[in-house]
């Protein structure tokens, strides 16, 4: 997952798409969605537990949480990458009936994920056609919080990395939920 993210950054640079406005930090946001041909209850059952990330995200080896789905629960996400890099995340809000939760990074090395102070929302909704739509959205700053960031820690790198994480998870979730 990490290597994929870096590869994307390199790819963007090769295309000359990295714009030159990399000055002071302003918060970035992205939202990725996936349409799934499965009822929302089935999809929610897969993703609803804060400690279940490893069961549906292909880049995650384990994701144990200390207080389940209680606000304040802290999970340790170990990535499938050399050296078993990990990130620590905390559950900020949880709404079972609304099929949504909000969590944030608590202890994250920018070498693992080139972002700072991120929070994310995962939300499953009925798409009105018998299936569901899952949205994963996030707010974050780039990894380098001062002026003139190195390219691997600028706004584009942060956006590319988080997009890659969300996309990989959502696409795999679709496969899992649509499996017969």
């Amino acid at each position: 997952m990490k290597r994929w993210a870096w590869a994307m950054v390199a790819f963007l640079f090769c295309l000359g798409l990295a714009p030159a406005w990399a000055h002071g930090p302003s918060r970035q946001k992205i939202a990725e969605t996936v349409d799934i041909n499965a009822p929302v209850d089935k999809v929610w059952a897969i993703v609803k537990d804060f400690d279940a990330l490893a069961k549906w995200h292909p880049g995650v080896a384990s994701s144990a949480a200390d207080k389940g789905n209680a606000v304040g629960s802290v999970r340790i996400v170990v990535l499938k990458a050399p050296g078993d890099p990990k990130i620590v995340e905390e559950l900020l809000s949880y709404n079972d009936a609304g099929h949504t939760y909000h969590y944030g990074g608590k202890d994250v090395d920018v070498k693992v994920l080139p972002v700072s102070n991120y929070t994310s929302w995962l939300t499953a909704g009925d798409n009105g056609h018998g299936g569901s739509t899952v949205e994963w959205k996030g707010a974050f700053y780039r990894g380098f919080l001062n002026n003139d960031p190195p390219p691997e820690l600028n706004d584009e790198a942060a956006v590319a990395a988080v997009t890659a994480v969300y996309r990989a998870g959502l696409d795999n979730l679709k496969k899992l939920a649509e499996a017969p």
Binding site: H23, S26, R27, H102
Partner: protein, 324 residues
Amino acid sequence: MRAHAFLLGLAALVAAAPAAGRPLAYITDQGSDSIAVVDVDGWKVVETLEVGRKPAGVAVAPGGDRIYVSNPEGSSLSVVERGPDGRHRVVAGISVGKGPLGVAADRTGKLVFAADWYADQVHVVDAASLKEVSSITVGRSPSGMTVSPDNARLFVANRESDSISVVDLSTFVEIGRVAVGKAPFGVTYDAAGGTDGKPRLLVANVQSGDVSVVDPVALREVERIKVRAFPYAVAVTGDGARILVTNQHDDSVSVIDGRTYATLAVVPVGDYPEGIVTAPDQTHALVACWMDDELESIDIAKMTVDRTLKVGSGPRAFGQFIAP
């Protein structure tokens, strides 16, 4: 978003200018490099103006005819004026420091202050000449600012120093520093005060999740109010009876009794609420919800959201963003 801003711009050309005397809100849309001018009573965006890069801070000067917008990534302030016809235009863009974020006008309209996030300074700009006339060294990563009603003091929240700098506006020198909670960001001056009738500063401490109440004369913290995760900015009604705090990571606004400091309600709002002010009639508060690209209106008596309005991308509205 470009197309969106463009359409709004077209709409502004054909829409009638709001009548004088109607409150207007100026919302910095950081992702759109623009500000939205909102007719609060009519509850619609009436104009969209391109400003500098990644606008965040905003301050309406006394009288409401001039609006200052900070562009942290453009290292500049945009100066917006409201003409006699009610239309707005950007009349100047001036280079200010490295990363101006917080912005405040003094009570006379003669000076503008811009807090430089990177340089740990507040730049002082003369409103008539639009030249920088002084700079004040403060704590680390200065952010929110407010000026005392007698125009004698400027208070600056130093996010990375966990303090409020107190600046003498006759000399532009920091004369004191008050320790508050962890990572203070927004600071608001309340002239009405609490039960003792003394004025107070209300400071949102992002990382300690609370609000510091500071005596602006004795220069000490007198109370600490627990709120939800990542409080960002504070609004207060003119009579001091209600304090409203945006909780950025809780997607809510805490409504607090201004006398007892009890939390009366935690109102769910859009995601990532940031700037908040009370409307001139004091019945509503306006909240910019960054993640949802919305301005929301809270009925203060009912403690519920009664209106939402789509604005540009990433509204911050950090500062005093409403004109009477």
